[in-house]
């Protein structure tokens, strides 16, 4: 009766012991917990298994759908890879929060109602923020705070959606929703934030590359794919998602061309891959949903592999800036090989995992007659090749030799990358193993000779275009810079508007606090600290304003619900 234990809970609770265990015992403990959790989740069949009632709400604590098993399996694989990859380091906080984060994401997969989901949704946010903080520098601290605000906002919008759904007579059970209702729209918005939809994607490229070497690998697997999973459960066949997905596949490829930080390039690439999955959900047919699930499964592994390879480069050289790297293949040959396997996998070369999974989604668009969607997805495939297939391995390992005298990556990193690379090849060569896990029978002929030929022509001639640009000296050089993304709207534009609108109030506030501070200082006979006071007030203004606005909206929603 494995369903009587809450899935993921043993990993969440077991994480509490991680900081106090000796190094080797800690690694064994984490791997045993993950293996036990995987065993438990594997034996949970589709259906409702555990319910309870709390203050009048019927909670479905354990429920599985046809797509739950493949997501749970790959989440456990990712968690195990993370542990192995990080065995060389003694980062106890990252290890503990990483394990709890993975456990929370796995638990969320089995949540059957929005209240239960909200709890795990927020738990993924609170556990993962420590992984970003482990970057241990002012930039990572700032990014972590922005990340936390975004993720918590998503959670509260999810809760608001649940409240509105209950108010309109629906249950809180996670089921197919309509975006034409307020409750459905709020739930979609909550999922959209975590899935990094256009204009709410900036947190991904902002926060993930600021984490530690191992932290970024952990982050890449869970949050966004949990959102994809929930979108597939609640909004399959919602056609507007097709176009959101198309935009997601397209815009990141242009940003990735000019981004210099190779981990940030991978974050843009992650966004692009999510777009393919969202398109599949929007199309909503059996073939398309199979494509989304299969793509998510393969993507988690090859994206982890790519982040691991760049993490190894960062660990050894101290940088992942393309403008500072090159020629590492001689020093790090195995890392180079594993990176190339990740690169050809994400680029969908035949015999690698991306080909046998992404083809299902693109094939479903063609099969349903979505010509322009199909054109866009093919275009985006060439874009994927550009940034992840060529740019990452070329500029890190084969570009101009920068003379790094470094050693190969640590053994534990190589083992984790080797396992991930092996899985990329295994799925690509024998996709039947993965297809057997999918929710519907796979009838698509992925090995059709014409299909394989078309894919090879697309990719090889795209590589030829790269060679042409390089030989002619037309490929843009890598430049150390900041590439503005949609987070600029929240980091610069909105604060500027806020300062403009709030200036009169702030002047009054400063006048009052300044006068009070001077009077207090005069009464105690010490110097004033007006500037420090103002700094503290203004330093928290943005976050405070956002939180205040958010709570006001939430309170309004609650009030509306009880007035109706």
């Amino acid at each position: 009766m494995p369903e009587l234990l809450l899935p993921g809970l043993m990993m969440i609770l077991g994480a509490a012991l991680v900081p106090v265990l000796p190094h080797m015992l800690r690694q064994v403990w984490m791997l045993v917990l993950i293996a036990a959790s995987a065993y438990q989740c594997w034996h949970i069949d589709p259906g409702v298994h555990l319910t309870t009632s709390v203050i009048g709400f019927d909670l479905i604590l354990v429920r599985a759908e046809a797509i739950t098993r493949p997501f749970a399996l790959v989440f456990h694989i990712a968690a195990a890879l993370n542990v192995i990859y990080a065995m060389h380091e003694d980062a106890r906080m990252t290890a503990a929060t990483g394990l709890a984060y993975a456990g929370a994401a796995i638990a969320a997969l089995f949540a059957g109602d929005f209240i239960t989901l909200f709890i795990y949704w927020e738990l993924t946010a609170f556990t993962s923020v420590f992984i970003i903080l482990a970057g241990r520098n002012p930039r990572s601290f700032s990014a972590a705070m922005r990340y936390l605000l975004t993720q918590v906002t998503s959670g509260v919008i999810l809760l608001a959606g649940a409240v509105v759904l209950v108010g309109s007579g629906s249950s809180t059970a996670i089921t197919a929703l309509s975006v034409e209702t307020l409750g459905g729209a709020l739930v979609l918005l909550a999922f959209a934030i975590k899935a990094a939809f256009p204009f709410v994607n900036g947190w991904l490229q902002d926060a993930y590359p600021e984490a530690s070497v191992t932290g970024t690998v952990i982050l890449s697997a869970f949050t966004t794919k949990l959102a994809i999973y929930m979108l597939a459960l609640c909004f399959a066949g919602t056609h507007m998602l097709i176009w959101f997905g198309v935009v997601m596949t397209l815009f990141p490829v242009f940003f990735a061309v000019i981004e210099n930080d190779l981990r940030r390039v991978l974050a843009f690439s992650l966004n692009n891959q999510l777009g393919f999955m969202v398109v599949g959900i929007g199309i909503g047919t059996e073939l398309a949903l199979n494509g989304t699930v299969a793509h998510a499964f393969a993507h988690i592994i090859y994206k982890s592999l790519l982040f691991m390879s760049m993490g190894a480069v960062l660990y050894r050289t101290g940088t992942v800036k393309a403008s500072e790297l090159g020629g590492l293949w001689k020093r790090m040959p195995l890392t180079t090989l594993f990176c190339i396997i990740g690169a050809v996998s994400i680029s969908s070369f035949p015999l690698f995992s991306g080909f046998v999974t992404k083809s299902l989604t693109i094939g479903s668009a063609a099969y349903e007659g979505y010509f322009w969607v199909w054109v866009a997805l093919i275009f985006a495939s060439a874009g994927v090749l550009e940034h992840s297939g060529i740019k990452i391995p070329y500029f890190a390992f084969f570009g101009h030799d920068r003379g790094f005298k470094v050693r190969e990556a640590p053994f534990s990193m190589l083992v984790a990358m080797g396992i991930a690379a092996g899985l990329c090849v295994a799925i690509g060569v024998a996709p039947e193993m993965l297809y057997a896990l999918l929710p519907y029978e796979v009838t698509y002929k992925v090995w059709d000779a014409g299909h394989v030929l078309g894919e090879l022509q697309l990719l090889l001639f795209a590589v030829l275009a790269f060679a042409f640009l390089m030989l002619r000296g037309l490929y843009p050089p890598e430049i150390d810079s900041t590439v503005l993304n949609t987070d600029w709207l929240f980091r610069r534009l909105l604060p500027a508007i806020w300062r403009m609108l709030a200036a009169p109030v702030m002047r009054l506030w400063r006048a009052v606090t300044g006068t009070a501070a001077r009077q207090i200082a005069a009464s105690v006979g010490r110097g004033t600290h007006v500037s420090r006071t103002n700094y503290l007030i203004s330093g928290t203004a943005t976050i405070g304003a956002a939180a205040g606005l958010f709570l006001a909206v939430f309170a309004l929603l609650l009030a509306l619900r009880y007035m109706m």
Partner: protein, 88 residues
């Protein structure tokens, strides 16, 4: 920041050597076009060498689009570091 903008990235000798292999591979998949039948869902897809031409053109557009985008969104490396959110 602007120094590197004047010239494009350079290709290493190793990569130059790989270009020969690439050209042969492209020639092979081009020749196979006339041997293997490609099932097409759309009329455009069925045209000879559609994927080869589209792959080549799409790559150029992606890179060209990136170059144009750089003029719009590229800032100094420390753009956000000074006065984050305008608060400090």
């Amino acid at each position: 920041m602007s120094d590197g903008e004047e010239t494009g990235a350079k290709m290493t000798p190793l990569a130059r050597g790989a270009v020969g292999v690439l050209v042969v591979a492209c020639a092979v998949v081009t020749a196979l076009e006339f041997v293997i039948h490609r099932h097409a869902y759309f009329e455009t897809e069925g045209r000879p060498l559609f994927f080869a031409i589209y792959g080549f053109a799409a790559f150029l557009i992606v890179v060209g689009g990136g170059v144009l985008l750089r003029k719009l969104v590229m800032r100094a490396p420390d753009y956000y570091d000074a006065g984050e959110d305008g608060d400090a």
